[in-house]
Amino acid sequence: MLDVIWLVPALPLVGFLAILLFGRRLGEPGAGYVAAAAVLGAFVVTVGAFFDLLSLDEHHREHVSVLFSWVPVSSLQIDMALLADPLSITMALFVTGIGFLIHLFAIGYMHGDPKFSKFFLYLNLFVLSMLMLVLGENLLVTFLGWEGVGACSYFLISFWHTRESAATAGKKAFVTNRIGDWGVMLAMFLGFQAVGSVSYSALNGAAESGALASSTATGIALLLFVGAAGKSAQLPLYLWLPDAMEGPTPVSALIHAATMVTAGVFLMTRMNPVIAASADYAPQIIAWVGALTALFAATIAVAQHDIKKVLAYSTVSQLGYMFLAVGTGAYVAAVFHMVTHAFFKALMFLGSGSVIHGMHHEQDMRRMGALRTVMPITAGTFIIGWLAIAGVPPFAGFWSKDEILLFTLASSPVLYVIGLVTAVLTAFYMTRQVVMVFFGEARWESHADDHGAHGEFRPHESPPIMLFPLVVLAGLSVVGGAIQLPSFGIIPDSWRHRLEDWLHPVVEPGEAVIKGTAAYDAKSWLALLAIACAVLGIAAAIAVYAKGRAKPFEPELLARGWRYDETVSAFMGGPGRRAFDAVARFDSGVVDGAVTGTASGVRSVAERLRRGQTGFVRNYSAVVVAGVLGVLIWFVIIRGVL
């Protein structure tokens, strides 16, 4: 299947075009099925490619297929080329796989929406872009996908664009991402200047062979990280992601949890030799930004009331973990966490979508409660997701988070502590959410009047087409950890480090690098410590929210996200806007003023001169005689005498 790897993006493209041309005729649910089928097809091809690769010798697990020469100008030769290697296939697998599930879910979720087919149009376009991103053979093709997913994200966030907030959120996401794109573009330029190419093989090859100067590598790494921070919602560029929850929930699940936001992590992983070749402070900056983002977002999540906002901040926090992993050299762990996170976070988003669907678009958790009774499957799957993210073994999240923490300790104890604290908070706020939504008393009944339009209000379980993806994802969240089990004594050797081995050609450093450090030696104890932290967080949350042992600690400051967003908005709306206005005024006043001023200056000089034209013939004669005198002075005195 490797030879037809182009089918992977081509199928969603076909789906996109089909819906573009016949969307209205396909209608509901036809468009949804077309779209889902396209993604499923892509998944199938990817799976085929996966096995093809697997059958190859480890060092030949790389297949480049050049579609056509894209931007060829003299020394710059960029092909539209796809690269199938373990990393990209891994990404493509879960993009298409989870993508397919979410498409299915959306068919149910978007039921009745007047723009049903358009939604799937965007979704297919998104999958296409995401696949170009991950399959790109060079930075530019990735960038094509990178911007494509950004644009789709924009369309989908502002899908319900008549809502002002949705429109604003879409714009915000796009513009913030563009700040990151600035970094990606400059990184490409720098890479091109240094290597003469923007292809991964050239850049990474140069970095590995030492041909890439350390300063250049640092520049590329950090600039790429700027882009990654934008796309993956890291400090200080994260603030578009919580707002992005304005989009329909399947979008949040697909784009803002599972796939697009992990693109930054993917890119950093893809370029890991360059990071390795860069100065030491480059990965440290990445690690610190990741750790701080993880902690920072977790604190905010603690005080959110919107069911999706909690998940959004949680996503930011988990992405922080992944960057922490990237920064500490745990690329495999990063990818691992990316995959598991994709499972359980997509699951929870879809679950929340199911809740919102059942609650007739109510998102405030304070108006929920006891929903397990009316939507048992949703509740059950959500709880699995909760356990996974909280880090309870043997669910998927435990394994990946544990590996990240292990590497972190090997790198820096301070970061490790931050990671642990975040883990506690994660367990805490997720438990809080599960309790508030599914347990306790049914607070929605008192608010039933608000939904008067629907007549009798009663939350209901979602249709099977929405539940099926939940179940599948729940299953994956349970067993997902199996792809990269650590080397504890009880785990058989052949089960260990599957992912690491698979990714080996792409990602050189694995657990081996930290072998011999104190952290590595204490890894079993560390695992226990992590479990303890998870339990601590869960217990605390149950104590507060289920048992009412203590008053909930939800300070205003945290609820408002440390006022970061407000400050930025206030700056943009205040001094920023004033500065822009000043430029516009400068333009009309000074720059254009100089032009009109010149014109009116000529005019006023002319008016003054005009008064010299008095109409009196004697004045005129005086002017003529004065001219005579002047000319005489020139000729007689200056030319004659002097």
Partner: protein, 172 residues
């Protein structure tokens, strides 16, 4: 002797000229003009340009000034012009400065250029042959110019016709 004539004639010329400028009554100004013209005629005589002196008196003083006076009388514009009032400020001092400046510069130029004029060769122009030479020049070298004056006169004639033709009733 010639110096005395020169001085006297120059006095006539200048006083007449100043009279033209300063006499309030245009009739008096015309008479000042006559004085100047006569003075110039005297100079012509003293420079042996007899024919021109005659023409000067006959045409200029005789015809042109008479024409002036005639027009003054015809139009009744012989009222005195009040020279004590100058409606245009600065006009007078500026005029005097400019006039004086031009005079000084031209005079300076001719004085400076005096030595380039060559030897004085007065002797070779006997009074009689002067007219003959003039005629010869007029009808040979300057015959075209001479003929051109006729065109000029056509203009003058046609011009007066145009300018003085009575208006039709319709034009009011």
């Amino acid at each position: 002797m010639e110096l005395i004539v020169f001085v006297l004639a120059s006095a006539m010329v200048l006083s007449g000229a100043i009279g033209v400028v300063l006499f309030r009554n245009p009739v008096h100004a015309a008479l000042g003009l006559v004085l100047t013209l006569f003075g110039v005629a005297v100079h012509f005589v003293s420079m042996e340009a007899h024919f021109l002196a005659a023409v000067q008196v006959i045409v200029y003083a005789g015809a042109i000034v008479v024409l002036f006076l005639f027009v003054i009388m015809l139009l009744g514009v012989d009222r005195a012009e009040d020279l004590t009032i100058e409606p245009l400020k600065l006009q007078r001092p500026v005029a005097i400065v400019l006039g004086a400046g031009v005079t000084v510069l031209v005079a300076g130029a001719v004085v400076r250029g005096a030595d380039t004029l060559g030897r004085e060769t007065n002797a070779s122009a006997p009074g009689d042959s002067n007219i003959r030479a003039l005629a010869r020049s007029l009808y040979s070298d300057h015959v075209l110019a001479f003929e051109l004056t006729s065109v000029l006169l056509i203009v003058a004639v046609a011009g007066t016709v145009v300018l003085t033709r009575r208006l039709k009733k319709s034009e009011g």
